[in-house]
Amino acid sequence: MFQIFVEDANESFACAADKNVLKAMEKLGRKGIPIGCRGGGCGICRVQVIGEGNYHTGKMSREQVTEEDEKKGICLACKLFPESDLQLKVLGKWQKQFITDTVSDN
């Protein structure tokens, strides 16, 4: 079991080595990282691993995470598997929707 600390939300939760960080957060009913497709495709759960930390990632959409991103520790939480305690910064990809933008303006 590893501890995952989500900086922006000041949240901390446990994650097993064989579980992805997003799923661990979801199952514990915690929040902090936005939840999207959970398959590495949509980019909503984009995070950056900061500080020391070992991890590996599953295949993620190259449209959402480039090779450059990966070198900086940027990945999708739904494909992030911890090998040590991790500290995360939430980057997200939340695009304001045309409709919600205009509706919420009302």
Binding site: I35, G36, C37, R38, G39, G40, G41, C42, I44, K59, M60, S61, R62, E63, Q64, W94, Q95, K96, Q97, F98, I99, T100, T102, V103, D105, N106
Partner: protein
């Protein structure tokens, strides 16, 4: 009743991050049948109640999403006629040769204002539904997973969605069945039909072009929809919303994701569309009820998560 021109959605080609995982999911969980695989590594699948040999094409790629959506037209001459009209309308049009997609005839491929690629075709090899055309039984034994009946429609997100809506209405002869308006009174989402169905395609205005919101498969009853939801939990398939009902089209639905993050839908129920009906309008303040009839409030995931 007569069908002329475009008859129905015929196929959708999507990208997946892991082909083997995707094939297992669409066969074992969704219940599609794998019918072919080509030299490029594309896999062809069909739903059991379809007669043509494929309606879903998968190819492995670095990012998920939709490559193109194809519609079947009634006659070969429709193909020639639409090709001319699409060119006249200003779209980039090309003819894909027969068998470029295995066992599919020539396709007229065209681009669209929303950044999506579409195709029209008149011929595809028959595969059958396992029941034959002579004194058939009502369903085949041995179906797997959700046992979806057919690939029903796509909801596509793109910039200049109205451009594609107009293209489908003016050139391809689709009817507007339902529209969602924005506060300026313009169409933000349109549901279009080329048949008796409440929709064969839907398009929603979005910041980026060429995006896929979901591919939809049809079931017959609320019981089947609930059973599909049970299967999702049994196999840890991520659910987006549902089981619930849409205000738009009245469909009883679940949204969920394939292993690459492409959103799927299974649904049942709509109403019968005829060209002499007036379209339905949804005002922006009722968008919650339009999409989630029971929740009656907007869900950011539904509007923001696309591939």
């Amino acid at each position: 009743m007569s069908f002329t021109g475009v008859m129905r959605p015929g196929h959708v080609a999507i990208r997946v991050l892991d082909l083997a995982e995707a094939v297992e999911y669409y066969v074992e969980r969704v219940g599609l049948i794998k019918t072919d695989e080509d030299k490029q590594g594309r896999v062809y699948l069909k739903a059991w109640d379809e007669l043509d040999c494929f309606s879903l094409v998968l190819r492995e790629a670095d990012s998920p999403g939709i490559d193109f959506m194809g519609f079947k037209v009634h006659k070969q001459s429709d193909l020639d006629e639409f090709e001319g009209k699409l060119k006249e309308y200003g779209q980039n049009v090309e003819r894909m040769p027969a068998n470029e997609l295995n066992k599919c005839g020539e396709r007229v491929r065209f681009d669209s204002p929303s950044g999506h690629t579409f195709e029209l075709y008149a011929e595809k090899e028959h595969f059958g539904d396992g029941l034959g055309r002579l004194n058939p039984n009502p369903w085949p034994e041995g179906l797997k997973g959700m046992q979806v009946h057919r690939f029903d429609h796509c909801l596509l997100y793109g910039s200049n969605a109205i451009g594609t809506v107009n293209l489908f209405r003016e050139v391809l002869g689709f009817d507007l069945t339902e529209q969602v308006l924005n506060p300026d009174g313009e169409i933000a989402a349109a549901f279009l039909s080329c048949s008796n169905k409440a929709h064969d395609i839907a398009i929603l205005e979005h910041a980026e072009p060429g995006k896929l919101h979901h591919i939809s498969f049809m079931l017959m009853t609320w019981e089947e929809v609930l059973r599909a939801a049970d299967l999702m939990s049994m196999h840890d398939i991520p659910i987006d919303i549902g089981p619930t009902r849409h205000g738009i089209t009245r469909g009883q639905t679940i949204y969920f994701f394939d292993p690459s993050g492409n959103r799927n839908e299974v649904f049942c129920g709509d109403y019968t569309w005829y060209p002499d009906r007036e379209p339905i309008t949804w005002m922006p303040e009722e968008l919650g009820k339009a999409i989630f009839y029971h929740d009656r409030k907007l869900n950011e995931n539904f509007l923001g998560v696309v591939t």
